[in-house]
């Protein structure tokens, strides 16, 4: 396989995953905007959404004030924002187009149809009330793409690069959501459980599509400790860091067997996986949640860079 093909598959799946995460983040932001502001200003609320999407500074370079319509346009439609849903879908489709020979017809038709339909949406035609429907559509289409990928792609090196892109991105996203609100997860809040905390916790779980599954796993009211545990260490939670790294570790092993060669990325991936697998929330909190997450985000980035280098993405 060409290095460029591997790179395109990796980025195709990363961009689709990112588009899905953005839709979920914006959905949470939208819900919050419907409720009375409890803490700080509206700007602070949106600020955390933008930070979790890693686009706060880019947004405030272009806008002085913050309100739902600007956020919606920036996160969904703005072509100058390289992480907007539009940009993600365009880049995903370009990647897919350049490797048509390496993906299945079902994958191509899924991304191509999504891109075509999204391109036809006029931003001005999307009122605030239409937003949830559009966000559902994005989540449905990105899920459909992933389903097409999992159901049709050959389990060879191409599949591995798709999985690495997906889980590298997802781990980054979950870590950011947690890091933006890390202070509401600190154990001192355990006994407070104010309405403010409850809403913040709910927001974090929703942003990871975890508010229902939380109850199934913990059979308890929201607690900061559990939430952090759920999204970091519980590998059965499909957006948790542990889950992402269980897949990354498996996938890197698959590549090692497929090519018969082990590289630096394998060591990095395995080290992160081991840390999560043997992790203990007690230790994480002692180390400092914010420090832990910051360290994780940079290791996760380092893994991405190392995969690109070891497999000649150039």
């Amino acid at each position: 396989m060409l290095g460029r093909t591997a790179s395109s598959l990796y980025w195709l799946c990363r961009h689709m995953e990112r588009a899905e995460n953005l839709a979920r983040l914006l959905d949470v932001g939208y819900r919050m905007s419907l409720e009375p502001v409890l803490d700080g200003s509206e700007r602070e609320q949106w600020d955390s959404t933008l930070q979790a999407a890693a686009m706060a500074s880019a947004f405030f370079e272009r806008h002085d004030s913050v309100a739902l319509p600007q956020i919606r346009d920036f996160m969904l439609f703005d072509e100058t924002n390289s992480s907007s849903v539009r940009s993600c879908l365009t880049q995903a489709r370009s990647n897919a187009r350049s490797v048509r020979t390496a993906i299945t017809t079902e994958m191509w038709e899924s991304i191509n149809t999504t891109w075509l339909e999204f391109s036809r949406i006029r931003p001005s035609s999307i009122s605030v009330n239409d937003l949830p429907t559009l966000l559902d559509w994005i989540k449905r289409n990105t899920a459909q793409f992933r389903g097409a990928m999992l159901n049709t792609i050959l389990r060879n090196d191409g599949y591995s690069f798709c999985q690495l892109g997906t889980f590298n991105e997802r781990a980054d996203n979950t870590a950011r959501i947690l890091d933006v609100k890390y202070y509401v997860l600190l154990p001192r809040n355990e006994f407070v459980g104010s309405e403010f905390d409850n809403r913040q916790w709910s927001m974090i779980l929703r942003a990871a599509s975890a508010h229902r599954s939380y109850r199934h796993v913990y059979r308890d009211r929201y607690k900061a400790w559990n939430i952090a545990d759920f999204l970091i260490l519980r590998s059965e939670m499909p957006r948790s860091l542990a889950h992402c790294y269980r897949w990354i570790d498996t996938t890197l092993r698959d590549l090692e067997n497929f090519y018969g060669a082990r590289y630096q990325c394998h060591d990095i991936g395995q080290a992160i996986h081991d840390e999560l697998k043997n992790g203990d929330m007690e230790v994480v909190f002692q180390k400092g949640l914010h420090e832990f997450l910051g360290g994780f985000i940079s290791s996760n980035n380092a893994l991405g860079a190392s995969i690109a280098e070891n497999y000649n993405f150039f």
């Binding site: 396989m1 060409l2 290095g3 460029r4 093909t5 591997a6 365009t90 370009s94 187009r97 350049s98 490797v99 048509r100 020979t101 017809t105 191509w108 038709e109 191509n112 149809t113 075509l116 391109s119 090196d157 090519y259 060669a261 497999y311 000649n312 150039f314």
Partner: protein, 464 residues
């Protein structure tokens, strides 16, 4: 589709019945279905200078174009004769130049032609083949009477439409295939792969590694590049996926570099190798031409084939065929006036209203004037240009192009068509029974180029 006496030609009778039997709105629905199929599959062409949202579909017409078995047999013989002669001509031009010595083509026409590639002199491509993939543009003017408009010996495109138009037709009108015995076209990619394998460099041991070299996703024919690579099961590369080391070409893979033996390139000569041709090219592979000269890789088609399909050389093709084959040409050239000759130029200038004027280096239907549909102002302009640079234009009579029933807004109407069959030359010559039929969708128009509002049709070669 109508014979000289006004009757519907036998080969179209079933189609005529079928068209009449279609329910109201049925054809329109099928045309819409066809568009949806093409768009979903991403069979689009990019329009230069516009963004991605402006990827267009080439309009597809659901009424097939039909050619009888007898007509096709004659065409095949003519095409085979022509491509043999053209490859012999290319070999000669880049070696002993016998045809110039024999005085059959003027020396200046070849040696001072910008399409002549001096770097190719004395190069010996595998099996002596220069142009491996050829799309011959033909028009039919009467029963068994075809004219060759252009030979397209460089990097002809459109073959993916031949195959995908057929796929779409089989989905849309399966009932018609039950009424005709239509020769299949789906084996083209397999034949292409065999052709490419057969021209691997002689020093290539084992199964040759073939790649398709594309300029990338913004090229107007990218879909076709990707389609062909996929159908052949070979890698689709861009210039920076390849590099030259110690005189050999390699591709960058996720593992060790892989040696490449045959490159089906879909980028023009000028951009192939910045060290030999245009130094500003970022699409090519530095050192590729040296690897080619060293005999370590085959480039398909060879650089420098443009000299044989140059519009000014075109007028000499009948002589070229006779010179190398000793036979009379089976397919006619369109009679062409030589404007450098006073007598012929005067005739041209007096009859511009009936003639077609083409710029020698123009393509895609640009830089041409069709006399019968021209304005007085256009004719005056072209007369001035011809007088100023007589060698820059070729002039031909307007042919009574054959028409084919075509679905338009108001129903079915005759529209002019041409035909591009695809020929493969390697260890043997392989001609796929079919081709790309382009149709001028504007009433009365003779210009079929997709950049000028042309569309495509499926082409049915009937079996006996």
């Amino acid at each position: 589709m109508v014979a000289a006496n006004g009757d519907i030609r036998t080969s179209y009778r079933e189609i005529a019945d079928w068209l009449v039997s279609q329910p109201k709105g049925g054809l329109k629905q099928k045309a819409r279905d066809a568009e949806a199929i093409f768009r979903r599959l991403g069979i689009t062409f990019a329009v230069y200078g516009s963004n991605e949202a402006n990827e267009r579909l080439i309009p597809f017409d659901i009424v097939p174009r039909i050619i009888s078995a007898a007509e096709w047999r004659k065409l095949e013989r003519g095409i085979e004769q022509r491509v043999r002669a053209m490859n012999a001509f290319l070999h000669d031009i880049y070696h002993r130049q016998e045809i110039i010595r024999a005085g059959r083509v003027p020396e200046a026409l070849i040696l001072q032609n910008s399409a002549f590639c001096p770097q190719m002199i004395d190069q010996d491509p595998a099996l002596g083949v220069y142009s491996h993939i050829i799309g011959v543009d033909l028009v039919r003017v009467a029963e068994n009477e075809f004219y060759v408009l252009e030979d397209n010996l460089r990097t002809p495109s459109g073959v993916s439409y031949m195959i995908e138009d057929r796929e779409a037709m089989m989905r849309l009108v399966p009932e018609l295939f039950a009424r005709y015995r239509v020769a299949p076209v789906e084996h083209y990619p397999e034949n292409l792969r065999r052709t490419l394998q057969s021209v691997a460099p002689p020093n290539c041991a084992g199964d040759p590694t073939i790649v398709v070299l594309t300029p990338g996703i913004y090229n107007s024919a990218f879909f076709e590049h990707s389609f062909l690579a996929d159908e052949m099961g070979v890698e689709l590369c861009q210039g920076d996926d390849l590099y030259v080391d110690d005189g050999c070409v390699y591709m960058r893979t996720t593992q060790k570099p892989k040696r490449v033996d045959v490159i089906y390139r879909r980028i023009d000569d000028d951009f192939l190798d910045p060290l030999t041709f245009r130094p500003d090219s970022t699409l090519g592979v530095p050192g590729l031409f040296a690897a080619y000269r060293a005999g370590n890789v085959t480039i398909v088609n060879a650089p420098g084939t443009g000299i044989a399909d140059d519009k000014a050389v075109y007028t000499y093709v009948p002589q070229i065929i006779e010179f190398y084959t000793g036979e009379k040409p089976i397919l006619n050239n369109v009679p062409t006036y030589n404007c450098a000759n006073d007598e012929e130029r005067n005739y041209v200038l007096d009859h511009l209203e009936e003639l077609v004027v083409k710029e020698v280096h123009g393509s895609g239907g640009y830089g041409m004037m069709v006399g019968p549909t021209s304005t007085r102002k256009m004719r005056a302009e072209f007369a001035k240009r011809i007088k100023a640079r007589p060698n820059n234009y070729i002039v031909q009579p307007t042919l009574a192009l054959s028409t084919c029933p075509t679905f338009i807004e108001k129903g079915i109407a005759p529209r002019h068509v041409d035909l591009r069959p695809f020929v493969l030359v390697g260890d043997r010559i392989r001609i796929t029974p079919g081709g790309l039929t382009r149709v001028a969708l504007k009433k009365g128009s003779l210009v079929v180029n997709s950049s000028q509002g042309g569309g495509t049709k499926d082409t049915w070669i009937l079996e006996d």
